[in-house]
């Protein structure tokens, strides 16, 4: 290794870029969180200031929690996200295993077909999806959302996981076959543990858009019992008056569960991103 790659100037520059990016990425989040603790006047007068003892106010949180149904919204969001995530990972991994492990006619075509969804947004089909859900009586159910999100998450999952599964040693799978393991056990016991980092990567990429989505809850499940957090927060945004305290408090609360899930996956995620580099 030449010393040039480790010169202090380069290290400093790299860190400066990374820190700048982190600041830009975190700034809106920070703004939401600090303003959620301020009184309405303070939010408008000095939106960038930290809360002080004079303007510290929990009115936003009080409004949100008094609204009563917010716990239900949280529950809905969590159910939809976790169940969709589970289904995406399960079916995505199974499809990826089939594509990477078995030779059959149209294998490549099938892979391309499954990856098509990465390029074509599922929202283009909203009208058809709504008609489908109306026809099957699934409007205003969490099932409708789970089905749509599973479909939305699968293409990327299949694409990423099949690449990773191709790297799992053939010898290992064959050893399992000779020892009499079924294809299911080979998949669940031998292959899945080895692609765990990739699964975490897929989990994070799948989870965030589902949690944040406003579009499908608004169209497919806008009823009071099936509202998700993002949709629930909308009640504080009016045509003429917006209750900023409540909106900011609701959004701050909505960050927490994803943060928890992210922390769970992140260690695996980092391993997944660096696995190719270190080997």
């Amino acid at each position: 290794m030449s010393t040039a790659t480790h010169s202090p100037a380069r290290t400093f520059a790299a860190h400066a870029v990374l820190i700048a990016y982190t600041a830009i990425a975190l700034f809106p989040v920070l703004l939401i969180v600090i303003n959620s603790f301020k009184s309405r006047n303070a939010i408008f007068r000095s939106p960038l200031a930290l809360p002080t003892p004079e303007n510290f106010d929990l009115i936003g949180y009080a409004t949100v929690l008094k609204q009563g149904d917010f716990f239900l919204y949280f529950q809905n969001s969590l159910i939809v996200t976790v169940v969709s995530l589970f289904l995406v990972l399960l079916f995505g991994a199974m499809a990826a295993f089939a594509l990477s492990e078995y030779r059959f006619k149209g294998n490549t075509l099938m892979g391309l077909y499954l990856a098509l969804g990465i390029m074509i947004p599922i929202r283009l089909g909203t009208v058809a999806i709504l008609q489908l859900m109306v026809a099957s009586g699934l409007v205003n159910t969490l099932t409708a959302l789970i089905l749509v999100y599973t479909a939305q998450g699968l293409p990327l999952a299949v694409f990423i996981l099949s690449e990773f599964m191709k790297q799992v040693s053939d010898d290992l799978k064959n050893a399992g076959r000779i020892d009499g393991l079924s294809e299911y056990r080979i998949f669940f016991r031998l292959v899945l543990p080895l692609v765990r980092p990739a699964m975490a990567t897929v989990a994070v990429f799948t989870m965030i858009p589902i949690w944040n989505d406003l579009w499908f809850p608004l169209i497919l499940a806008p009823s009071e019992e099936t509202k998700t957090v993002t949709l629930g927060a909308q009640i504080f945004i009016g045509q003429y008056v917006t209750n900023w305290n409540a909106v900011l408090a609701a959004l701050s609360l909505a960050i927490l569960p994803v943060l928890v899930l992210y922390v769970i996956f992140s260690r695996q995620l980092i391993r997944g991103i660096t696995s190719g580099a270190v080997k």
């Binding site: 010898d171 290992l172 064959n174 076959r177 000779i178 020892d179 009499g180 393991l181 016991r189 543990p193």
Partner: protein, 333 residues
């Protein structure tokens, strides 16, 4: 028990014919080595025997029973892989026991067989470890142990030594040879290394481009190669091939092994100049540019002082030269 018979097995991947009709019989207790250059189809053939790959046509029989439709676990085989292929989440003991557990063997019997195999391969201290905590040589011994506990009719080895370093390779080779002697089991072993083939085999099967070139005992292949391919593949350094016309012979090609050429500083058949000399201690390999026979390799036993530029006379041992026709087939002497 433990015989294998292959009849007219062919295998194609799409338009590519990997195996073009293989017929082979292996007797009970034989150690058979498939050898050939990479891409010759030897691993594919092994995988067809194991049942990991379906033959496009032809039949495979183990102990006289066709096994084309029998899944790998029911064929009574065990396989050792080049990359060890140990289950990373299981201990050494469970790695060895998994196959038997799947087959529904009683716990006590599994325990007993693991005990026997681990003693045989000196694996007792490692039984509770996971593969990640073992060295390469130990992992390969575990993989062999996993095969032994199954007490198979047929052992299949897929280049088991290729991932080991040179010293370990010699040791493990010895262990496999001992294992074969002790168990008396039928073993099929795939390698691209002709030294492994020569040292281990009762019978060598030389494959090239999806066909069997020759089957025979190691010394038979060495002494009576059927064609130029086998002649060139078996033996190291490689046999010298000389254009028959240059030597005034009717055969298309004349083959002489480097160890069957004598040199003398003063007189001999082919006058030549030393281009390069390899001094290995036990052997000396000389590369000579000769006027009559072109570039030839000579292997001399022991030390021989010859530096590049020296003029030497080389003389082939006439009884040990081989003659090949236009198609590369050996002409009977």
């Amino acid at each position: 028990m433990g015989s294998l018979s292959i009849q007219n097995v062919k295998k194609s991947f799409g338009k590519v014919d990997v195996l073009k009709g293989i017929d082979l019989d292996v007797k009970d207790g034989e150690f058979v080595v498939f050898v050939g250059p990479s891409g010759c189809g030897k691993s594919t053939l092994l995988r067809i025997i194991a049942g990991l790959e379906d033959a496009t046509s032809g039949t495979v029989q183990i102990d006289g029973k066709p096994v084309n439709d029998v899944p790998p676990a029911k064929r009574g085989i065990a396989m050792v892989f080049q990359t060890y292929a140990l289950y990373p989440h299981l201990t050494v003991k469970n790695n060895m026991g998994l196959g038997l557990k799947q087959a529904g063997e009683a716990a006590a019997e599994i325990e007993r067989r693991i005990g026997v195999a681990s003693t045989m391969l000196s694996l007792e201290p490692y039984l509770e470890r996971r593969p990640a905590e073992l060295s390469g040589g130990q992992r390969q011994r575990v993989a062999i142990g996993r095969a032994v506990v199954r007490e198979p009719k047929l052992f299949l080895f897929d280049e088991p030594l290729s991932n080991l370093d040179a010293a370990l390779r010699v040791n493990t080779r010895l262990e496999i040879a001992e294992l074969h002697r002790r168990l008396g089991a039928t073993m099929i072993y795939v390698t691209h290394d002709q030294v492994e083939a020569m040292t281990l085999a009762d019978k060598i099967v030389v494959l090239n481009a999806g066909r069997i070139e020759q089957v025979g005992a190691p010394m038979e292949l060495y002494n009576n190669p059927a064609n130029t391919f086998v002649a060139g593949f078996i033996g190291s350094p490689k046999m010298n091939f000389i254009d028959g016309a240059r030597l005034g012979d009717t055969a298309k090609t004349i083959g002489v092994r480097p160890e069957h050429i004598l040199v003398d500083p003063n007189k001999g058949d082919w006058k030549g100049v030393v281009i390069h000399a390899e001094h290995l201690g036990a052997d000396t390999n000389l590369y000579l540019d000769t006027e009559k026979a072109g570039r030839i390799t000579v292997r001399l036993f022991g030390e021989y002082a010859a530096e590049p530029g020296t003029t030497l006379y080389a003389t082939p041992v006439n009884a040990r030269t081989y003659r090949f026709d236009e198609a590369g087939r050996a002409i009977a002497r």
